[in-house]
Point group: C2
Chain length 414, copies 2
């Protein structure tokens, strides 16, 4: 597509070869909603009996689709036959018309698949405050029905992009009670679409035979350490949505307790897929030239560690220092200090690229800046802090803040 | 000074003609601490009997000077004979050596003025993590003693700058019980000094005869609505310090209750001076091309309104939209949504430059973008939201986010 932005320098070499997951089929089409010339509508068909769980934006201004999904999950108790996602229009802050458009989209899919509208989950990303036309969606669904395929992960990932520069996918396998299962997922990250903000979307499908209540617990736990640990600019979309669907096709014994030890490998696989997608979101942050991975240890608890990590990740001063290749640990001290969590100034230690740069309330004397400069010149920056008060730990991903970010977000209409 | 950055396009035409305040004298000198070729040390001498109150950074990583001021105010119960401030070295994250350097600075002033070191308040701004040499400060204090003058506000304001592009001062008069009093202040804002973050410093002096407890209450109240309502990039310095000194020289009757109605005009004057300085900080935000004033109404309470205002002010997406002259109200919806405070999506209203752009959960239909575009093309942008849940209100100042901000903070060493 000629109008695509250049691929992020941090993009993986290729989209992974994600296999089909029994019970799920995908397709994507160009409906014109995102301006034409690109795929913009994704349908994931799920076999009858599929269980689903979701986590959604904490925004007080949720989109009509987020409202729809919350109500549908409550109504069905976590059953789903399809996920429909469009790019180009977020259907957010669109009032009663937006709610009607969401319902019409779900009804269009339900009619064609022979299910209840509540079993159709929706996600939209793109322009805020503009009414979503339903006709292109209905027409698109008609077309997608005939094109569903089990391995169409890459077109599906492509169609949910806004200005993401590459499609994002990941997968893993695990065994439950000796039976192999697959977890596959696609996501989109922070991209802009005139005139509005990006949205984080993630859709995960597994063939595991797990009920909605178990999926919900596993999804929330993995989400806290993965998608909730990514930040590009600290802004929160009206539309963030992560769905995990389990098609029940795997032939393992029933597992109804999310804490069951037989789920350990599945939990790890889910975590790996979501962590992989989360890091891909940071790799495609707007204007990113460097991936920043932040490890926090010694916090009061894991939540405090995550908030300290996000304070570092969201600091424009830290992010611009990284953009400039500057191992400026003073700005990390500042960010830890402002996080609002317990931290012991006189025990704080900081590492950049594995090199200790500060400890016990002071910089390391006569620090050799050579290895630091070499690390900062690379594409993947590792920051670590120990805040010296407890055992809480977290890992957070972000990217640097470059003039490209400003250009992308300021000059859109110019 | 040849190496000064160009003056902010939002700077006032000239430094105000601040009169002398009885009981206070000021001087500033070049000690070389900030690299030479500019003033970098400010001394404010206060007459015996002066009462003082202070508010300090909420950072968990406070500088040695912030530690010093907190302890000194506790020890004296709010008595001060001097304020000494240096630019060029923040004396933050410098361990025991930093604490010793702060003590040595206070002792140097105390010896020369014949007071206790606890009566000397300190502030430092500049490089973090580097030891503060005391010899240039001691030598500077010797020189400053001979140059103290009642009206030297502009050199004092100049000497506390880091990369602020203009010195910031303001003053007002009021009557207490029929007796005229003056409130004068200087401040510095978000500037960078290699290799570290800026600091917000504000020093206010009045000749009013008010005890430290009253000053403390008045300062905290005014600070909440002024300096605490400014944000350039959401980062919080290790060194933020605001001091209010009252020299007791005005001949009015004693006022010991901060709620006394005779203080109404003084409270207003203090608020005006601090609000003026606060707006000047936003006018000099790094790379700023536009001043943004955000009015929030209809929040649960004033604190919630302030947090919503700061969520808008700290949103990189809102700030880059303003930089691009784009009346992008969708990003304001997003920022209100992420603030974490109660807000009613379906009653939210938004104005840009006084023009209603969204209300009742939807954009205004067929909006005439002409007047909006004209407003956005100006230097002073007015955003207003009513979040529809209560009577809380706040006003917040910030500036736009331009590629100059990134260049200033990323390219410092390049």
């Amino acid at each position: 597509m000629a109008h695509d932005p250049p691929r992020s320098p941090l993009a993986p070499a290729a989209f992974p070869a994600i296999p089909a997951v029994a019970g799920a089929r995908l397709a994507a089409a160009d409906t014109g909603l995102a301006g034409g010339g690109r795929r913009d509508l994704t349908l994931i068909e799920l076999t009858p009996g599929t269980a689903v769980a979701g986590v959604f934006t904490s925004s007080r201004m949720p989109s009509a689709e987020v409202d729809w999904c919350r109500a549908a999950l409550a109504a069905t108790g976590g059953a789903a036959r399809a996920i429909l996602a469009n790019a180009g229009n977020a259907n957010a802050f669109t009032g009663a018309a937006g709610a009607a458009a969401a319902r019409a989209s779900a009804e269009a899919v339900a009619e064609r698949l022979g299910c209840s509208p509540d079993e159709v989950l929706l996600a939209s990303t793109g322009v805020i405050g503009q009414r979503l036309p339903t006709e292109p969606i209905t027409r698109g669904v008609d077309r997608l029905r005939g094109e569903l395929a089990g391995d169409a992960w890459e077109p599906a990932a492509d169609a949910i992009r806004t200005t993401d520069t590459f499609p994002k996918g990941a997968w893993a396998t695990a065994e439950i009670d000796g039976v192999p299962v697959t977890v596959a997922g696609i996501a989109k990250g922070s991209g802009m679409i005139a005139p509005d903000m990006g949205t984080m979307l993630g859709f995960l499908v597994t063939d595991a035979a797990l009920p909605a209540g178990v999926l919900d617990r596993l999804l929330r736990a993995a989400n806290a350490d993965t998608f909730n640990c990514v930040s590009v600019d600290g802004d929160t979309s009206t539309s963030d949505t992560v769905l995990l669907a389990a098609t029940q096709q795997a032939d393992h014994a029933a597992v109804t307790d999310p804490g069951d030890p037989r789920l350990a490998a599945f939990r790890d696989a889910l975590h790996c897929v979501m962590a992989d997608l989360a890091a891909q979101l940071a790799r495609d942050g707007e204007g990113a030239s460097r991936l920043i991975t932040i490890r926090v240890d010694g916090a009061e608890d894991d939540g405090a560690a995550r908030r300290i990590g996000l304070a570092i990740a969201n600091s424009p001063l830290v992010k611009t220092a990284v953009a400039g290749g500057d191992p400026n640990w003073g700005r990390i001290v500042m960010a830890v200090g402002k996080a609002g969590e317990r931290a012991d100034r006189d025990r704080l230690a900081i590492w950049i690229g594995g090199h200790l740069v500060a400890r016990e309330g002071e910089g390391v004397p006569e620090l050799d800046e050579g290895p630091l400069a070499a690390h900062m010149a690379g594409r993947e920056i590792e920051l670590a802090v120990d805040v010296g008060v407890g055992t809480g730990a977290a890992r957070v991903w972000t990217c640097d803040l470059t003039d490209r970010y400003v250009a992308i977000n300021a000059d859109y209409r110019s």
